[in-house]
Amino acid sequence: MVIDSTRMKSLADRLAGDEVKGRSLWADARKRFFKNKAAVGGLIVLLFVLAFAAFGDLIAQYSNEELDFSIMGQIAEKGGPSLANGHYFGTDDLGRDLFARTVQGTQISLAVGIVGSAIAVLVGTFYGAFAGYVGGRTDNIMMRTVDILMSIPYMFVLILLLVVFGRSIIMLFMGIGLISWLDMSRIVRGQTLSLKHKEFIEAAEATGVSRLTIIRRHIVPNLLGVVAVYATLLVPLMILTESFISFLGLGVQEPLTSWGALISEGSGTLNYGTFWQLAFPLFFFVITLFAFFFVGDGLRDALDPKDR
């Protein structure tokens, strides 16, 4: 999965074209966004998944860790989805309620996706904006550093980090977030460069506003469109990365789980007559990734309307 650079660039060019005219751009965008069926569909799915993560526990008949001893040992026969015994999604190999586990896995995966993407966006935006705005030597050094970091096989480094510091959610957030801000910083820098010479910035400089304030007050708000789109599209990438880490067995600690862990467990036992163990988590995983994808795409098209 990848973020489409052509369309990001097109969006960035447009947003840098003129100063954001307050409400009108966003109001227009909103109108266009809600006309886009795929995007609205995605948004509805996202709301559904969020509600599932937030309130699923209220519906679940079991906790995510208790073992159902009446089912344990006969999962293929008795552990299937059933309304009668309250295991709506069936159970996992140990007789734990898969519904409760999917709810809890959704919470973790969404958290990793959103927090990871937020870290990437924050770091990337400020780094890029700073480099672009200050310019000159500083810019040069900062961007060369990005070049260097881009040549590092990040998944290898992430594996090393998790091996060395032990697995923890914090490490996962940091690790996943810190490897994805590089692209962001490049886009933001490019846009900052084109914003820098706009009249409103020069006016602010002339009145003696400090650099940091200019970056904060004038540059960053103008970057908001690109950042929002990028952040939305980054979330599914983060979720995919987390799932790979979980597949390697370096993800969150039991009894906590994540989509990646559930899917990886489910796909291992695919041939043992417990198809639901893969189907339910994979369903939520796929629809969420789709939804983020459509929403991000829709957001971008809304901000940068072209016939596509």
Partner: protein, 538 residues
């Protein structure tokens, strides 16, 4: 798929009958035309050098590429290998082995006593730094410890060649199970000239010279090992398999799928799948005892361990509250035995003490556990927080999760801490844990391989259990006429003091193609030899 397989088998048999009427030389069974065998390796073989190898899978291959003084038969009894027999001195410390004069290396040269002397010295050589050097110490070969520590020259190792066919080994003290230890791969002979000519490269298929029934043809890391019969082997006429392949498949479920697709002849069954497969393939799924014991170690180190675990009542309560029947019947489901002691129950000569709590019902155990832990000042009202370390594995995880739930009932809040293997081991060895998962597999079929573990002077006693009485018993057992009496008493101490919570005793749970024979599954150590295997016509 199934019909196709059946058809090809019938065709194969029909075609084979007239051309191939071979029968097994001993049993007289009719042999199949196809004598290829493919089995599963979880991981790549790390080294093909007998004195470097450290793992079970490597030993499996080495037992066929090399041959030690003795081999094991189908049920684990000693049978002559390179040695025909031995004389034992009156003080039981000097063994004189008479080697088989017809034993040959794969390049045709005779196997001599000097080859053993070279290999054994190599194992103890501090410069060579074998990770299995301690096996020489375990065998109590004279001066082994001092040589490994660099305090004595290598020449003083208690092993010498009296002539080409006579090997003399001197050990420090009588050791009743010494001959048993000689089937271990690290005692296999190697050729000095070959090792010196090629250096570490001598184990490459093109350089390797072995004295086993098979020769190495190919060894591709992460993919496969291929072996073929060694025509120079002294018993080559009775080697039946013609082509053996070991495939590395890192995923247990993938391996099973490939077995079912007919690509493998032997594979391990993942936890929980045995009942289904046994019902579906009654002639292929097996479950037999294997000499390993699975435990949770309590960290009893007075400084680094949690204070609560110093209290024997807490340890007993924790052990009692584990419902082992649920673990073996519902989690593992592979015919493993619930365990209330340390030594594997099927170990040769071992007599189980009468362990009281093993006869109770689980309800009684739970009640007693609750009573004990309340007495100790904990319990549901005042939860005891502990952390369990375990290494990454689907089965370990499942057991840990189950135990976490069992202990909730007696007010223990168990945090699970899953780590990869190296970190887990490192933390265990530094007493940096509360409770740790551990499993020990016997090196030889005698109870001391288990019981030595808990002596205060053992290098493996990671929970730092100390009992003078226990140490005394184990020391006495080394020279006793019947050491099994001491072993039983030692087990009783473990049951009373509970330095570990025993959980289950291993079974080997496997799928084996129904026409395979000679698989040594009745051997508790699971030491198999390719030279014993064959396929029968069906």
């Amino acid at each position: 798929m199934k019909t196709k397989l059946l058809l090809s088998t019938i065709l194969g048999v029909a075609l084979a009958l007239p051309a191939w009427a071979a029968t097994h030389p001993v049993t007289g069974e009719e042999l199949a035309a196809n004598q290829d065998y493919t089995y599963w390796l979880l991981d790549a073989i790390k080294s093909m050098d007998p004195q470097i190898n450290t793992d079970v899978e490597g030993s499996g291959v080495l037992r066929s590429l090399f041959e030690g003084l003795f081999n094991e038969d189908q049920v684990g009894g000693l049978v002559p290998g390179v040695a025909l027999d031995f004389d034992l001195s009156d003080d039981k410390t000097v063994y004189t082995f008479h080697l088989r004069p017809e034993a040959k290396w794969s390049d045709g040269k005779p196997v001599t006593a000097q080859d053993f002397v070279y290999a054994w010295k190599r194992l103890a050589d501090p410069e060579f730094a074998s990770e299995y050097a301690w096996y020489m110490e375990l065998m109590q070969v004279v001066n082994a410890s001092a040589i490994i520590a660099g305090e004595k020259p290598l020449d003083e190792l208690g092993v010498k060649a009296l002539d080409d066919n006579t090997l003399e080994v001197t050990i420090e003290a009588p050791l009743p199970y010494f001959p048993q230890m000689l089937t271990h791969a690290s005692t296999f002979p190697v050729r000095q000239d070959v090792v010196e000519a090629w250096g570490p490269k001598w184990t490459d298929p093109e350089h390797m010279v072995g004295n086993g029934a098979f020769m190495l043809k190919e060894h591709i890391l992460g993919e496969k090992v291929v072996m073929e019969p060694n025509p120079a082997y002294w018993d080559a006429d009775n080697t039946i398999l013609e082509h053996v392949t070991a495939l590395t498949i890192n995923d247990q479920n993938a391996a099973l799928t490939r077995y079912l697709a007919g690509e493998l002849d032997r594979v391990q069954i993942p936890a929980g799948q045995y009942p289904r497969l046994a019902a579906e393939y009654p002639n292929e799924a097996i479950s037999v005892p294997q000499s390993c014991s699975y435990i949770y170690i309590f960290n009893m180190d007075p400084v680094k361990g949690p204070a609560a675990l110093q209290d024997v009542r807490v340890r007993q309560a924790l052990s009692y509250a584990i419902d082992r029947d649920v673990i073996v019947n519902s989690v593992l489901q592979g015919g493993q035995a619930p365990s209330y002691n340390w030594t594997h129950a099927a170990t040769a000569g071992f007599e189980m003490p009468d362990i009281e709590y093993s006869h109770w019902t689980q309800a009684e155990r739970d009640a007693k556990a609750l009573e004990l832990i309340t007495e100790a000042g904990y319990g549901p009202g005042k939860p005891l927080a502990l952390t369990l370390n375990y290494n990454t594995s689907e089965a370990h995880k499942k057991i840990a999760i189950a135990v976490q739930q069992f202990w909730k009932k007696i007010g223990v809040e168990l945090t699970l801490n899953n780590m990869e293997w190296k970190v887990h081991t490192d933390k265990m060895q530094n007493q940096d844990f509360d409770l740790g998962r551990y499993a020990w597999c016997g090196d030889y079929n005698e109870a001391s391989t288990y019981l030595d573990f808990f002596t205060s002077y053992s290098g493996h006693n990671n929970g730092k259990f100390v009992s003078e009485e226990y140490d005394r018993l184990m020391k006495e057992s080394k020279t006793a006429e019947n050491p099994n009496l001491m072993y039983t008493a030692a087990e009783q101490i473990l049951a009373d003091q509970m330095p570990v919570a025993p959980i289950y005793q291993y079974s080997l749970v496997e799928m084996i193609k129904p026409d395979m024979r000679g698989m040594s599954t009745e051997n508790l150590m699971q030491n198999w030899y390719l030279k014993d295997m064959y396929r029968v016509a069906q």
